[in-house]
């Protein structure tokens, strides 16, 4: 993991001091709420329906037990004893008091954390594969590059007042777990024919009211030139992105309006010029320094499969069920990647209590080389667990309510905060997620249904990623009432696609039935071993429409 040196620490401290001054000016009335708004938004502080909300960055989703304990401490001391993991690998606190926020930021700084650029029209927290450094299908660990991007994009003097927010995702594996094609910039780590490391760059993906997939604008950017290339893209966006209409200000609209060819031409011209006039090339020593922080932990030389693990799988059905969904293959023999579900049946997706946070910190220290990951699907991951420890870990997770065997299944729902918290929402998302989760409470049934990603957004801004849900649910407002629209067939992996809308929306009393009807229709028509997504791809929407709306 990356550790701050004195330079990183100095920057974060300066920012905390600055924000403390700004909050003091606001509290004393020297600046108005309007003047305060851009300042708080540079520090992750939103004004929500009922209170301020503070979003804390977890850069590329990687953190350790010391940091997790601090997140727990903050939940206990300054909030209501819990936190909420988001779809951008961040954590949010829903009830901080304004005068205490500088203290929260000060406390975070003691463990090398902050809330810088988690809001506002700037380059946001860089996201990545939650299995980075552990996945079996990985080419190289993308996190060193995420860290270089984090540093370059922090307090960038030229790109802090962009037309709109800007999200970058980086992956280093064949299977895309970071949804890079629905980001403003998606970068895929790759090797060229000479075995050199570089990045394939996609630009202009995004969800929101106009979902679009990123367009590939460069096959290979050599690794040392990554930042120079990103700077070129950012300058083109900063100068040419639309500023006349909030809803057309993302880079995806620019790329759509001028076309990928013209975008490539503009970016290439900037890139050439940046290289000519003082390139932003990182020195090899600095690249090596950062790579070194992400060297793999000292894995023990183990057999591919641990015999005691295999025995437990045969002997304990509950454990076997959990292992089937919540464990992923690790690159090191004898190790496994463990997913902790923050989706207990009927509970709020992504919420975690301070007590659970402390427990996860202890378990990470004991079983996972002190590493924790936050996932964009609002769960947590312990990336490096010995197979021989899995049974014991599972028991301890079960005690904490963190072992629901539902990763990737019907009740592993992504939901935005919705109308319970958010002043943009049309409809509630969380109660619907809870109701659907309860409807599919029977785990055997969920396992029988198989992989199913249900994603719920309370409004068109699509924070719940409904466009890329196998079943996507969008909250809409109809004459002041909450309604929900269903789309099918979306996906956010390397075969990213946007789901198609089924038909008229459902009210809050019938939406869960409708989801169940969709699932039952799939069960009735699937072929052997065919997943929900594959079946929708094969049969299209018609059978589902017929089941929901009948034939006319």
């Amino acid at each position: 993991m990356y550790r701050y040196d004195e330079f990183d620490a100095s920057l974060v401290k300066d920012r905390v001091d600055q924000f403390r001054d700004q909050v003091a000016l606001r509290i004393s009335g020297e600046i108005t709420e309007d003047e305060f708004k851009p300042l708080r938004l540079m520090n992750g502080l939103y004004l929500q329906l009922h209170a301020y909300m503070l979003r804390v960055a977890i850069p590329y989703g990687t953190f350790d037990s010391r940091q997790m304990r601090m997140l727990a401490h903050i939940a206990d001391k300054y909030d209501k004893g819990y936190g909420h993991f988001t779809t951008r690998q961040n954590i949010q606190y829903n009830w901080p008091k304004l005068d205490e926020v500088p203290d929260i930021l000060r406390d975070l700084a003691t463990v090398e954390m902050h809330a810088i650029q988690t809001s506002g029209n700037c380059i946001r927290n860089v996201t990545s594969d939650q299995y980075a450094g552990a996945a079996k299908d990985e080419i190289e660990d993308p996190r060193p590059w995420c860290e270089m991007i984090r540093q370059w994009s922090s307090f960038h003097p030229e790109f802090s007042f962009l037309p709109r927010k800007f999200k970058i995702a980086v992956t280093g594996a064949a299977h895309d777990r970071a949804a890079i094609q629905v980001h403003d910039i998606g970068a895929t780590l790759t090797h060229n024919d000479n075995g050199e490391t570089g990045f394939t760059i996609y630009v202009g993906g995004g969800l929101g009211r106009t979902p679009m997939l990123g367009k590939k604008i460069r096959d290979f950017v050599p690794r040392a030139e990554l930042l120079a290339y990103l700077e070129a893209v950012m300058r083109v966006y900063n100068m040419h992105g639309r500023r006349d209409n909030l809803y057309k200000a993302r880079i995806k609209i620019l790329v759509h309006e001028i076309g990928a060819e013209e975008m490539i031409r503009l970016v290439d011209a900037e890139y050439e010029d940046i290289q000519k006039n003082g390139a932003l090339g990182l020195p090899e020593e600095e690249i090596a320094r950062i790579l070194n922080y992400f060297a793999p932990p000292a894995f023990e030389p183990l057999d591919e499969t641990d015999t005691s693990y295999a025995e437990k799988l045969n002997g304990d059905l509950a454990f076997a069920n959990w292992a089937k969904t919540n464990i992923a293959e690790h690159k090191a023999p004898g190790y496994a990647i463990v997913n902790l579900s923050l989706k207990p049946i009927g509970d709020i997706p992504g919420d975690i209590s301070a007590e659970q946070m402390y427990a996860v910190a202890d378990l990470a220290e004991r079983y996972s080389f002190d590493e924790i990951r936050a996932t964009h699907e609002q769960n947590l991951t312990l990336p490096h667990v010995k197979q021989s420890d899995l049974y014991e870990l599972w028991q301890k997770l079960t005690d904490q309510g963190l072992a629901t065997p539902n990763i990737g299944l019907a009740s592993d729902i992504i939901a935005c905060p919705g109308l319970d918290y958010c002043n943009l929402a049309n409809a509630r998302s969380i109660p619907l997620a809870q109701e659907i989760s309860n409807r599919f409470a029977d785990l055997d049934r969920q396992h029988n249904v198989g992989p199913l990603k249900i994603k719920i957004s309370g409004c068109i801004n699509a924070c719940g990623h409904h466009h890329v849900g196998h079943i996507g649910i969008l909250g809409v407002d109809r004459k002041g009432k909450e309604y929900y629209q269903i789309s099918l067939g979306g996906s956010a992996d390397e075969n990213t696609s946007v789901g198609k809308i089924l038909g008229p929306s459902f009210d809050e009393h019938s939406i869960t039935d409708a989801v169940e009807t969709v699932v039952n229709t799939y069960l009735g028509l699937r072929e052997d071993g065919e997943t929900f997504l594959a079946a929708v791809g094969r049969v299209g929407l018609e059978p589902f429409k017929e089941a929901l709306y009948g034939t006319d």
């Binding site: 040196d5 330079f7 990183d8 100095s10 920057l11 300066d14 920012r15 600055q18 700004q22 003047e35 851009p38 300042l39 540079m42 029209n121 540093q151 370059w152 922090s154 307090f155 960038h156 003097p157 030229e158 790109f159 802090s160 007042f161 962009l162 300058r235 900063n238 100068m239 500023r243 010029d273 006039n277 003082g278 932003l280 990182l282 020195p283 020593e285 600095e286 320094r289």
Partner: protein
């Protein structure tokens, strides 16, 4: 409104001319439109010439005429409109402009360090921003992560030197 130039209050000796106004022999700032439609007249004038660029008017338009101007004003129509940050950096880095580069419009104190970093050396500010406030704000962050137009060494360079 006050003018802060290189960190101190300064008198504004420039006249902002609108597009129809007859020009005097005083130092005068004109719009891009006027520059483009009266280039020859303005070039033969025997007094300092300044240029106003609004957001949306890229300095690319005057790339070949940089030497004609003793002052370039970049306007921020709203603090959220960050186009002029790129314009400033391009003027300094790409086109080699070395004279006064002034920020006008909606300039917030919290933005002064970023503006300074991309090459602004003069600022039209409201009365709450004094040279003392300017000095405090412009050195808020003691380290920087990225090279820009100012003399600051980014931390990756400092790390390598250590």
């Amino acid at each position: 409104m006050a003018l802060i130039k290189n960190g101190a209050f300064a008198d504004d000796t420039w006249i902002d001319a609108n597009d129809n106004e007859a020009l005097t022999d005083q130092a005068t700032v004109v719009s891009l439109h006027r520059w483009q439609s009266e280039t020859d007249v303005l070039k033969s004038r025997n007094a300092p010439l300044g240029l106003r660029l609004d957001a949306g008017e890229s300095p690319e338009a005057i790339a070949d005429d940089i030497d004609q101007f003793d002052l370039i004003k970049l306007n921020f129509p709203a603090f959220k409109d960050g186009r002029a940050y790129s314009y400033a950096r391009m003027l300094r880095q790409r086109y080699g402009y070395t004279r006064e580069l002034r920020a006008t419009g909606n300039v917030l104190r919290s933005q002064l360090q970023f503006m300074h970093r991309v090459g602004f050396d003069a600022f039209e500010v409201d009365e709450r921003i004094t040279p003392e406030v300017y000095a405090e704000e412009v050195s808020r962050l003691h380290e920087v992560y990225q090279p820009s137009v100012d003399d600051e060494h980014p931390v990756f360079e400092k790390r390598v030197k250590k």
